[in-house]
């Protein structure tokens, strides 16, 4: 419970055995009253086991569906168990749970709250094609949402009951669909979106992809996904 709201933290995890227990323990320590659902996205390591030992509820997918599939599983769980708020937290430990109450508070006025990296807090920087991709996405999505969104691909999001029901029913499983397409459709359906500045930490385990080749491919795919999302009904 945060301010009388029943809160579920959804953690999509794919082969994150090295960091998952720490993430669960940290969130529990910071926010004792919330439930944590770890959606094990077909991991081949013991992510599910470690998450359960750390005290999380675990939903284990039989094979890898990608973040979108894991997140819809989470929203369906939240819908079926009557949660008022669902918050996505990454399994690699880059989201600081101390910002979660801020996100929950912002839900009083909005349906979707994005924890954004470039909005002043922390020192997250990107360059090259990845930066252009993020600029393009922010420009288009800010227009659609009628509010300034600086970090549209952030995986740190909170949504209220109304949106939980919407996303439990529809959540794309395709690459980048979980961030871009969701925002396009949610904004177009008239939900109120806002962002809260958060500081993100370096990942506890694993390395972020940053080669120029990969960034360029990312730019292209982001553009295509955005175009598709804009013409889809």
């Amino acid at each position: 419970m945060i301010n009388g709201k029943k809160v579920l933290i959804i953690v999509p995890a794919w082969n994150e055995a090295d960091s998952i227990a720490d993430v669960v323990t940290e969130v529990h320590g910071e926010l004792p009253g919330v439930d944590i659902l770890v959606v094990d996205d077909g991991s081949s390591d013991d992510t599910a086991l470690r998450a359960a030992s750390a005290g999380a509820i675990v939903a284990r997918l039989p094979f890898n569906l990608g973040v979108g599939g894991a997140m819809r599983t989470g929203y369906r769980y939240a819908r079926d168990h009557g949660y008022d708020v669902a918050i996505q937290v990454d399994a690699d430990g880059q989201h600081d749970p101390r910002y979660i109450p801020k996100l929950v508070d912002a839900l009083d006025e909005h349906d979707l709250v994005i924890g954004a990296r470039f909005a002043g807090e922390g020192g997250y920087r990107v360059t090259g094609p990845r930066k252009w991709a993020m600029r393009m996405l922010s420009a288009v999505l800010s227009r659609l949402a009628r509010t300034k969104l600086t970090d549209t691909t952030s995986g740190h999001r909170a949504c209220n009951r109304k949106l939980i029901e919407f996303l439990a029913h529809w959540y794309p499983a395709e690459y980048l669909g979980d961030t871009i397409e969701v925002l396009v459709r949610v904004a177009r359906s008239g939900y109120r979106i806002t962002q809260i500045p958060v500081a993100m930490r370096p990942r506890m385990a694993g390395t972020p992809s940053a080669s120029p080749m990969k960034s360029t491919i990312y730019l292209g795919r982001a553009g295509i996904v955005l175009l598709l999302a804009l013409i889809r009904t």
Partner: protein, 129 residues
């Protein structure tokens, strides 16, 4: 004459193949009927390759063979698009089933050691297929 033999024999072989697949229940009825119909339409054209010439001329195509090629390509394109559509639908269905399974597992409590459940990509030995 040689051409007629080649195309005619091919059409007969294709028809026989379709019937055999159908007989062994390897094709769902909707596909079976589709391909059976295609084979039957192709058969007369294979034995008499020039019967489409008149129709081709009427719509401004130089020869009947070109007309058949054109229609064949359009038809195959539509079939592949249809198959992509079917695969998308099936993927959506498997995804929903996978999610249902995960949700059911979450109700059952503690997950077992994941090593107890082999990954779906594990190779099945030939004698167990």
């Amino acid at each position: 004459m040689k051409l007629t033999i080649v195309t005619g024999l091919t059409a007969l072989a294709v028809l026989a193949f379709m019937v055999e697949l159908l007989r062994r229940r390897q094709l769902q009825e909707k596909y079976a009927i589709l391909w059976l119909a295609v084979s039957i339409v192709i058969l007369p054209m294979a034995f008499f390759p020039f019967i489409t010439d008149d129709l081709a001329e009427a719509i401004g195509i130089a020869s009947g063979v070109s007309l058949v090629l054109f229609l064949g390509i359009v038809f195959l394109l539509l079939v592949t698009v249809h198959l992509s559509w079917e695969v998308s639908r099936l993927e959506e269905e498997t995804r929903t089933l996978a999610e249902d399974l995960a949700l059911l597992r979450s109700e059952l409590g503690n997950p077992r050691d994941s090593s107890a459940v082999p990954a779906p990509t594990t190779e099945v030995p030939d004698d167990q297929r």
